[in-house]
């Protein structure tokens, strides 16, 4: 199921969609499935599942720490697909966010086939731009998968147009120039970037990087079609080491706060 379905539903309710991220296998595979289901139950409209990678250039320390724990716990690409299957089974559009090398190593066509078979909606690719993605674009199209590429404040208008033309599902706007991580205030670069992106496409535009509470989510929801939250979710679990139940309770509370935010 394309992520566009969830964005359309949110738009029909005159609100933004809440997109939630956690890495697969953090703190272990089963616990990550339980945590992601908690986020679905508490109000996430779209789920992003991170594929833990050894060299995550765009990730800040919070997500990198979680991904490292997942790798140390032995998380494999096949485990990521298992998590996708478990979460997609809830009926919530579920995408994988991944750096490119693990996909290329798995085999681009094979990955697309197995992701589709697991019920996954598609891929978000932080280090793959459409001009270097012909194999992925072909495989995704063949398997009816979403292709979510990123736009940034530094993107030229020409590149935004090129990027959105290649996207399917939604467009991911990185709101700040920097790595992932919760921030005190959201970026003043985000609004203009979303406006520039909207001028090139009818696809929904989600804004990522930095949101950590309902008030910030509401501020972003005022101009974006989706609010993407990652580090803040990861933080709740990191703050409750060894107590999965408490972590999930905190995760549920944060999700509810953010879900109210996108409806404000």
């Amino acid at each position: 199921m394309s992520a566009a379905t969830a964005f359309e539903k949110a738009r029909a309710e005159d609100r933004a969609a809440l997109v939630g991220y956690l890495p697969a296998g953090f703190p272990d595979v089963e616990a990550s499935i339980a945590a992601l289901r908690t986020m679905v139950d508490a109000g996430c409209d779209v789920i992003e599942i991170g594929l833990p990678y050894s060299d995550p250039v765009m990730d800040g320390p919070t997500i990198q720490t979680a991904a490292q724990q997942a790798l140390e716990a032995g998380t494999r690409t096949s485990d990521v697909l298992r998590v996708v299957e478990a979460v997609a089974g809830t009926g919530t559009p579920t995408l994988v966010m991944t750096y490119w090398n693990p996909v290329e190593r798995y085999g681009t066509e094979r990955f697309a086939r197995d992701l589709a078979a697991a019920g996954g909606a598609g891929l978000i690719t932080p280090d793959l731009t459409p001009d270097f993605a012909p194999e992925w674009i072909a495989a995704a199209d063949a398997h009816d998968l979403d292709k979510v590429f990123l736009v940034a404040p530094s993107s030229t208008d020409e590149r935004i147009a090129m990027t959105t033309a290649a996207c399917r599902g939604f467009v991911y706007a990185t709101a700040v120039m920097g790595v992932t991580g919760a921030r005190e205030s959201t970026s003043d670069l985000a609004g203009p970037l979303v406006a520039r992106t909207h001028r090139t496409t009818d696809l929904p535009v989600g804004v990522g990087l930095g949101v950590s509470n309902g008030a910030q989510a509401a501020a972003v929801a005022a101009y974006a079609d989706g609010v993407i939250v990652g580090s803040a979710f990861v933080r709740t679990l990191l703050d409750h080491p060894g107590d999965a139940a408490a972590g999930r309770r905190a995760l549920g509370s944060l999700t509810e706060d953010l879900a109210e935010g996108v409806r404000a």
């Binding site: 990678y53 050894s54 060299d55 995550p56 250039v57 765009m58 800040g60 320390p61 990198q64 490292q68 790798l71 494999r76 690409t77 490119w100 090398n101 693990p102 996909v103 290329e104 190593r105 798995y106 932080p126 280090d127 793959l128 731009t129 001009d131 270097f132 012909p134 194999e135 590429f149 990123l150 736009v151 940034a152 404040p153 530094s154 993107s155 030229t156 590149r159 990027t163 990185t174 120039m177 920097g178 790595v179």
Partner: protein
């Protein structure tokens, strides 16, 4: 100083054709900066004033051209004529100064005020700090925590030159993680900061850009060899980590089909162990730090930690042009173990009175093996750096430093 069109990358950074090696696998946030750099670099190379200033700086400040030295005592032992391109005599002690002076000049030309760099052994960090000091730029150097410990003297050098050295504690705490951290800094500071990439790897245009600034090694060596011997060498050799000194040397000879080209990788404790950095010999094709190339990786595409006694070669990737030269068999890449390199370091010191960097000792070791296959031939070896920085490692490896005790090396 022209781009090598035949062996260089195409407009998207592919070596060996679209989808081959190289390219640009990078966050969209950095694409504008990479495009800006690409345009500025091509514009600078076409500007005689820029190339003249670059050549003047190399000549008057860096001590370039470096000498080509006929290593007669080593040759007599080896059974082949070994010529050493003495990049160890450059200012800051390595070939790296060529690259950073080019990139730092480019930074000034682009109107940026700060440079960042990553470093393994510290040679690139010291060179970057030096160029930044000379040109009045702020400088931050990222260095894996492990490397800050084994290269403490170079950390002190960088600090004395006014650079901030940031120890990187993520991942394997070595060069690859320093690159990740520098890229993260760059995403957040790209409006006023240039990334002085330390080797001929990374996203387009870095592999081509770095090659263009260091190709003087090969161009000079080719002419010097002709002047000295009246003919071209039978083979050229260089060590390969990321591969900048090697690509600089190879650039001068890649169009000479009669000259064999050898790259010597870090075989560490042996390529049949998991403790090496022989990326081309034992790696597989993947994407790391923005380029498709040979990578040490596991079945899932996770980067595997590399090992070399030389911090400068301790990198699980390699420049994409080397990957292309290996795939087309224009160049041959062979692993050299830690022990072989250290033995060569000692042998060169005792026969010629030259203490080379452990990186360069890999090339010397490779050449000594090559001499057995090519007796009487002329082998031109790039001595990419000097060994001052490696004395701590040498002291430990050989058990040196105790007066009255004779080393058994």
């Amino acid at each position: 100083m022209e781009l090598d069109q035949q062996h260089g990358a195409d407009a998207l950074g592919w070596f060996g054709g679209t989808g081959g090696f190289g390219g640009r696998f990078m966050p969209e946030a950095l694409i504008a900066a990479l495009d800006e750099l690409d345009v500025a670099w091509r514009d600078a190379l076409a500007d005689p004033a820029f190339t003249e200033e670059f050549q003047r700086l190399l000549r008057e400040y860096a001590g370039v051209p470096s000498a080509l030295y006929d290593a007669t005592r080593l040759s007599a032992e080896a059974g082949a004529r070994i010529l050493l391109k003495r990049e160890d005599l450059n200012h800051t002690g390595a070939h790296k100064i060529r690259n950073v002076l080019g990139q730092a000049l480019l930074t000034k030309r682009m109107g940026k005020t700060r440079v960042i760099a990553e470093t393994g052994a510290g040679q690139h960090g010291v060179a970057s700090a030096t160029a930044a000091a000379y040109l009045g730029l702020d400088c931050t150097v990222y260095m894996g925590e492990v490397d800050t410990e084994r290269q403490a003297l170079n950390v002190a050098r960088m600090q004395l030159l006014g650079a901030e050295v940031v120890p990187v504690t993520s991942g394997s705490r070595t060069l690859k993680d320093a690159i990740n951290e520098a890229l993260r800094d760059w995403v957040a500071s790209v409006d006023h900061t240039a990334y002085l990439f330390g080797t001929a790897a990374g996203p387009h245009p870095f592999p081509s850009l770095v090659a263009s600034f260091v190709r003087g090694i090969g161009d000079e060596a080719r002419q010097q060899c002709l002047d000295l011997t009246g003919s071209l060498p039978d083979a050229v050799a260089a060590c390969v980590g990321g591969g900048s000194n090697a690509i600089g040397l190879f650039a001068g000879f890649v169009d000479d089909p009669g000259v064999a080209i050898y790259g010597f990788e870090a075989g560490g404790e042996g390529v049949d162990t998991d403790r090496h950095a022989a990326t081309i010999h034992a790696g597989s094709v993947g994407v790391l730090h923005g380029a498709r190339t040979y990578v040490l990786q596991d079945e899932d595409g996770q980067t595997v930690e590399s090992h070399s006694i030389s911090a400068g070669l301790d990198y699980p990737g390699v420049g994409p042009q080397h990957a292309s030269l290996a795939a087309t068999e224009r160049a041959t890449y062979v692993p050299v173990t830690d022990d072989q390199a250290m033995a060569a370091m000692s042998r060169l010191a005792r026969t010629e009175g030259i203490i080379c960097a452990i990186e360069s000792a890999h090339a010397v070791a490779g050449a000594l093996e090559l001499a057995k296959q090519r007796p009487g031939q002329t082998l031109l070896v790039n001595l990419s750096g000097r060994g001052d920085k490696d004395m701590g490692t040498a002291l430990e490896y050989f058990g040196l430093g105790e007066a009255g005790r004779e080393s058994d090396t």
